[in-house]
């Protein structure tokens, strides 16, 4: 059997690999992206089962930039513009050749062109999971529990080493009024992480000791944080019996766990800030309350004092000697009032009696009889005078009427020789010659009889 030196076998592999794959296209998802100061870009492309290291040297990145044109080796098309801005999770096509790096005995793909191939699988998986759980009501606001203020018993589900727990405890140190913090250790990255996280959470629920559970992890790539995007962890959070605070990665990172948790905070440090107020602020509250206590007590004593003064005044008012004095004064006053009222009453009655006796005398005394006799004789005289005047008036009236009557009698002129002529055919008195014609019969009435005649025209 041939025994290779490391150099020999590495060189042999290098020869085979580089000869066999002088130019290849590989499709995968970018992870572990690193951009050191050198300007070269290092990353891994993965399809979930395998990973391939890629180096994209600075010189190759510029191809196609600065207005130069380059030929896309995949499509044969001419392209221009700057190099692709890579991001973790981006799905890319990488064109280049395989290369072995002997000092570390690793192989890598030396990229000559990197092209984006749509949204990465992880991002798609994330969005799909988010939609699915949203539909199941995992993110519903109305199932979120309120985070207790200043909790005394806090469970923390996280890795027992590393920055997350250290930051959390450091911030917690200067806050609150003394709490017990129990760490439920778990992996926070890798294939076993989701199961362990779920298990740790269930343990917290079963222990039924903590008031609140905190799920934290430091920053990392989308892949690093992937455990917090799994349904297994989401389910465990969903069945929580106590409020959950979730602080995963950096400010910008959002995980499915963040959406399911009752409270999402940006980082592990923020989780501690969310739970407890700073101790010096609590101290200030105590100082302020002590100030209020002293002020309100002084105020209270002042009120008591003025109440005492009022009561003392009241007490002297109620002493028996004072009371007798007050009663005597009141008695004297009442006596005076009584005598004034009596005087007034007697005077009023006197006046009334006098007035009544006047009225009585006036109504029924000799004066009145004399006045009545006088009235009677007056009335008799007036009656006689009135009767005389009445008779004279009537007599004169009668004579006047007789005279008028005489003047109005149509036959009275006949006595003095006048006559009345009547036209026979009309029966009317004759007043004008035109009323008669030749031969008309007329009747002439005189004082003592009538003469019949005819009209002639001579």
């Amino acid at each position: 059997m041939k025994i290779f030196s490391v150099t020999d076998i590495t060189r042999a592999v290098k020869d085979v690999l580089e000869t066999e794959f002088p130019f290849i296209w590989v499709r995968g998802q970018v992870t572990n992206l690193a951009r050191p100061a050198s300007g070269h870009i290092y990353f891994t492309i993965t399809d979930g089962d395998a990973g391939l290291s890629v180096v994209w040297f600075k010189g190759n990145q510029r191809a196609g930039g600065d207005g130069e044109e380059s030929v896309n080796p995949l499509t044969g098309e001419i392209e221009s513009g700057g190099p692709l801005e890579l991001e973790d999770g981006m799905e890319v096509l990488v064109a280049g050749h395989m290369n072995v790096y002997p000092p570390r005995g690793v192989y890598q793909l030396v990229a000559e062109l990197v092209q984006e191939q749509g949204v990465g699988d992880l991002k798609l998986a994330f969005e799909a999971m988010k939609r699915k759980l949203a539909e199941k009501g995992y993110f519903a606001e109305d199932r979120k529990m309120e985070i207790p203020r200043s909790p005394k018993r806090v469970a923390v589900v996280t890795a027992p080493t590393g920055a997350a727990i250290r930051d959390f405890l450091k911030i917690a140190e200067v806050r609150g009024t003394g709490a017990e913090i129990r760490i439920y250790p778990t992996l926070v990255q890798g294939d076993f992480a989701p199961g362990q996280i779920a298990q740790a959470l269930d343990l917290v629920y079963d222990d039924n000791w903590a008031e609140v559970v905190v799920l934290i992890r430091g920053g990392g790539s989308l892949e690093d944080l992937w455990a917090f995007n799994t349904e297994q962890v989401a389910d465990a959070l969903f069945r929580s019996t106590i409020p959950v605070v979730c602080g995963i990665g950096h400010e910008v990172d959002f995980s499915i766990a963040d959406y399911v948790a009752d409270k999402r905070v940006a980082t592990p440090s923020h989780a501690a800030q969310e739970l407890w107020p700073r101790r010096e602020i609590l101290m200030q509250t105590v100082d302020e309350l002590e100030g209020s206590l002293v002020r309100s007590f002084e105020n209270y004593l002042n009120i008591r004092e003025s109440q005492l003064e009022t009561l003392q005044k009241g007490l002297s008012w109620l002493s028996p000697a004072q009371r007798i004095e007050r009663l005597q004064a009141s008695f004297a006053e009442e006596g005076q009032r009584l005598s004034r009222v009596a005087d007034k009453f007697v005077t009023a009655k006197d006046t009334e009696a006098l007035s009544l006796s006047h009225r009585l005398n006036f109504a029924f005394g000799g004066e009145r009889i004399k006045r009545m006799e006088h009235d009677l004789s007056g009335l008799q005289g007036r009656l006689t005078r009135a009767a005389d005047i009445f008779l004279k008036d009537k007599l004169a009236e009668f004579e006047n009427a007789s005279t008028s009557l005489r003047v109005l009698d149509p036959e009275s002129p006949l006595e003095r020789g006048y006559s009345l002529v009547t036209v026979e055919k009309s029966g009317k008195f004759l007043r004008s010659p035109e009323e008669v014609a030749d031969g008309d019969a007329i009747r002439v009435r005189v004082k003592s009889g009538e003469v019949r005649a005819r009209v002639t025209s001579e």
Binding site: S150, K152, P160, T161, G162, A163, A164, I165, R166, D167, L169, I171, A172, E173, G176, T177, G178, A179, E180, I181, R182, I183, Y184, P185, L203, D207, I216, R217, G218, G219, G249, H250, E251, A266, T267, P268, S269, H270, Q273, R279, L282, M283, T285, V286, L289, E290, S292, L293, S296, F297, N299, Y300, L301, I303, R304
Partner: protein, 80 residues
């Protein structure tokens, strides 16, 4: 006030209640003075409690609760 197992929050609430009772001002004198004394004690106790407040950190492994010592490596998980 005898020393008991009241929490800081319970003491603070009691202190607040005492202040507002004194502000009302219609308590019998003995009661008012007693409340003031109680308030002074409470505020001292609160201050002491804050000064002495420390978190106890434990780790739960294999169903046991043990003391936990944090490692002091100097990198941070986030920017805060």
């Amino acid at each position: 006030m005898k020393k008991d197992n009241k929490t800081f929050e319970e003491r603070l609430d009691r202190l607040k209640a005492i202040v507002s009772a004194l502000e009302q001002g219609d308590l019998p004198l003995e009661e008012g003075v007693a409340l003031f004394k109680e308030g002074r004690i409470l505020s001292k106790e609160c201050a002491t409690q804050l000064e002495k407040a420390r978190n106890e950190v434990k780790i739960v492994t294999d169903g046991e609760v043990k003391d936990f010592e944090v490692d002091t490596e100097e990198d941070t998980a986030d920017d805060s």
